[in-house]
C-alpha cells in the first residue's frame, strides 16, 4: 500500500478560499442560499467553508445543514456496504431556496444522486449546485458534474482519495492518493 500526497495543508487552504470566493460571486450575501454538507465526510468541508465565509469574508448569516443519504442509496441489499446512518440536521425548509451540496470527493456520483432524492423530503429547492474538494475524473457512473471543484484528480478504480481534516483525523489538512487501500 502506498500513499502519495496530493494536496498540502497550504494548498488546501488556498483552495478553500478560492471556493469561498466563487460561492460569494454567485450567491452574494447568501440570503437565498443554503449549504448542505453530505454526511459523513462532506460535513467537515461544509464546516470549514462556512468558517472561511464567516471569518474572512464577513458573511455571518449562513444556513448550514447536514444530510445523511444512507436510506436513499441505490445499493441497499446489493453487496457489503456498511449500514451506518449518520445524523441529518436540516433545521430549515429548502423550499424555493438555492441549495449547494458540499462533499469532499466526487467519484461515481451515486451519493449525489441519493442526495438529490433525499433533499426533496425538505421541500422543493429553486436550484441545486454541487461543490467538491476533489473531482475524480473519468469515474462517473451517472451524468453528474460539480459546479465548484477544488482539484481534479486522475485515479484508478482500486485507488482511494482520502481527505484528512485538521483536528478531526490528523494534525494538518491533507489529501492523499492511496493505492491498494486496506480497510481505511
Amino acid at each position: 500500500m502506498s500513499s502519495k500526497l496530493l494536496l498540502t495543508s497550504k494548498e488546501v487552504d488556498i483552495i478553500l478560499h478560492r471556493l469561498a470566493c466563487q460561492l460569494i460571486e454567485k450567491h452574494n450575501d447568501f440570503s437565498n442560499t443554503v449549504l448542505i454538507g453530505i454526511q459523513p465526510r462532506g460535513k467537515f468541508l461544509a464546516d470549514r467553508i462556512t468558517d472561511v465565509l464567516k471569518n474572512d469574508y464577513g458573511i455571518t448569516d449562513i444556513e448550514l445543514g447536514f444530510l445523511d443519504i444512507t436510506f436513499f442509496r441505490d445499493d441497499f441489499r446489493r453487496g457489503d456496504k456498511t449500514l451506518e446512518a449518520n445524523k441529518t440536521q436540516i433545521d430549515f425548509l429548502v423550499e424555493d431556496k438555492k441549495v449547494v451540496f458540499i462533499d469532499d470527493v466526487l467519484y461515481t456520483g451515486r451519493s449525489i444522486r441519493a442526495a438529490l432524492t433525499a433533499i426533496q423530503s425538505f421541500g422543493r429547492p429553486n436550484e441545486i449546485e454541487l461543490l467538491v474538494l476533489i473531482d475524480r475524473r473519468y469515474s462517473r457512473h451517472l451524468p453528474i458534474q460539480p459546479d465548484y471543484r477544488g482539484r481534479q484528480v486522475d485515479a484508478f478504480n482500486d485507488e482511494r482519495v482520502k481527505v484528512q481534516w485538521k483536528d478531526v483525523d490528523a494534525s494538518e489538512d491533507e489529501v492523499y492518493l492511496i493505492s491498494n487501500p486496506i480497510n481505511l
Binding site: 445523511d68 436510506f71 457489503d80 449500514l83 451506518e84 425538505f122 421541500g123
Partner: protein
C-alpha cells in the same frame, strides 16, 4: 460490517447487545425521518411484507404498518377474524400460501408461544415476532428501552420496576431480557398470584409493596391487567387491584424522586394508572408510541438488508 447477528427477530433472548445498539443507532436516524415534512425513505421499495395477526391488535399492527409504509415497502395485512383460519387451515399452510405470492418478510402475532420460531424453521422468509402468546414481544421491549435511553441518556445502571400482571405478560419477559442485557437492574411488583413463581431465577428482584418498589426505581413500567387472559380470579376485584397496585398522582408526588412512568398500552385509566399520571410530565407513554414506529422501522430495515 455493521449488521444484525440474526436473520429473524424472534425474541430478545436470541439477539446480542451489539444488535440492540445497532437497532437504537438506526432508530435515532429514523426518528428524525418521521419528523421531516416528507416522512418517507425509498429503501424498501422492492420488498413485500405480510402482517399476519392471529390475535387482536390495534396499536402494534398500525405501528408496524406505518413503519413499513414509511420505508416504501409493499404491505399486506391479514387478520385472523376474516380469514381461512376460521375454515380450519393450519398455520404453515396459511403462511405458505401467502409466501407463494413471493413475500419477503412476515410479521406475525399468534397466541401460541413459539409460533414465530416454528415459522422461521419452516418457511422461507424473514420473520418478525409481534407477540407469541405469553412468551416474547421483542419490538415492545426494544421501544421501551429506547424510550428510557431517550429520557435518561442510557439504560445501563438504571433501576426498572415492572408492575402488574407479569404472569401473562410477554412484554414483561422481553423487557426483563432486554434491560438485563443492557446492564439495568430489574424488579417486578404485583400481587403474588400474578407473579411467576420462579421469576427470581432470572436475576430479577420481587417486591410485593408498590410504594417500596417505586421508591427504589428510576422507571416504572405499568402493565395492563389482561382480562382476556385471566381464566380464574387472580385478585378479588379490579378496585382492590387499583388500590394496591395502581399509581395515582398523590403517590407519584409523595416519592423522594421523580420517576418515569411507562405503559405498553392500552391503558385502563383508573386501574393501572390514573388519568393525571398518564398525562403528566413524568409519563413517556406517547413517546413510546412515536418511538415504536422508529424502532420498528429500524428492525425491518436491518432485517431486510440481509435478504439478498
Amino acid at each position: 460490517m455493521k449488521e444484525l447477528s440474526v436473520n429473524h427477530l424472534l425474541g430478545i433472548k436470541y439477539i446480542t447487545k451489539n444488535d440492540i445498539d445497532l437497532i437504537f443507532e438506526t432508530a435515532d436516524q429514523f426518528k428524525e425521518v418521521i419528523n421531516r415534512p416528507i416522512k418517507k425513505v425509498p429503501s424498501l421499495q422492492h420488498i413485500t411484507i405480510a402482517n399476519i395477526f392471529f390475535e387482536n391488535s390495534t396499536r402494534t399492527k398500525l405501528s408496524f404498518e406505518l413503519a413499513q409504509k414509511r420505508l416504501s415497502a409493499d404491505v399486506m395485512s391479514f387478520s385472523a377474524a376474516q380469514s381461512s383460519v376460521k375454515k380450519g387451515e393450519t398455520l404453515i399452510d396459511t403462511v405458505n400460501n401467502i409466501l407463494s405470492m413471493k413475500v419477503d418478510m412476515v410479521v406475525m402475532r399468534h397466541s401460541d408461544p413459539g409460533a414465530a420460531h416454528f415459522l422461521s424453521r419452516n418457511v422461507k422468509a424473514s420473520i418478525v415476532n409481534a407477540g407469541d402468546g405469553a412468551h416474547e414481544h421483542p419490538t415492545q421491549a426494544l421501544l421501551d428501552s429506547f424510550s428510557i435511553r431517550e429520557r435518561l441518556g442510557e439504560v445501563g445502571g438504571k433501576k426498572v420496576v415492572i408492575v402488574g400482571d407479569v404472569l401473562h405478560s410477554r412484554v414483561a419477559l422481553s423487557n426483563i431480557f432486554a434491560l438485563q442485557m443492557q446492564g439495568a437492574e430489574v424488579m417486578v411488583c404485583g400481587p403474588k398470584t400474578l407473579i411467576p413463581r420462579y421469576i427470581t431465577e432470572l436475576g430479577v428482584k420481587y417486591e410485593p409493596n408498590l410504594r417500596k418498589a417505586l421508591e427504589w426505581c428510576d422507571v416504572a413500567n405499568m402493565l395492563r391487567v389482561q382480562n382476556e387472559r385471566l381464566d380464574v380470579n387472580y385478585f378479588p376485584s379490579t378496585r382492590e387491584y387499583a388500590q394496591q397496585y395502581g399509581v395515582d398522582k398523590a403517590l407519584l408526588d409523595s416519592l423522594n424522586k421523580e420517576i418515569i412512568i411507562m405503559h405498553p398500552g392500552p391503558i385502563n385509566r383508573g386501574v393501572e394508572i390514573t388519568s393525571d399520571v398518564a398525562d403528566s410530565q413524568q409519563s413517556v407513554i406517547l413517546d413510546q408510541v412515536e418511538n415504536g414506529v422508529a424502532v420498528r422501522m429500524a428492525v425491518i430495515y436491518l432485517l431486510a438488508s440481509k435478504i439478498k
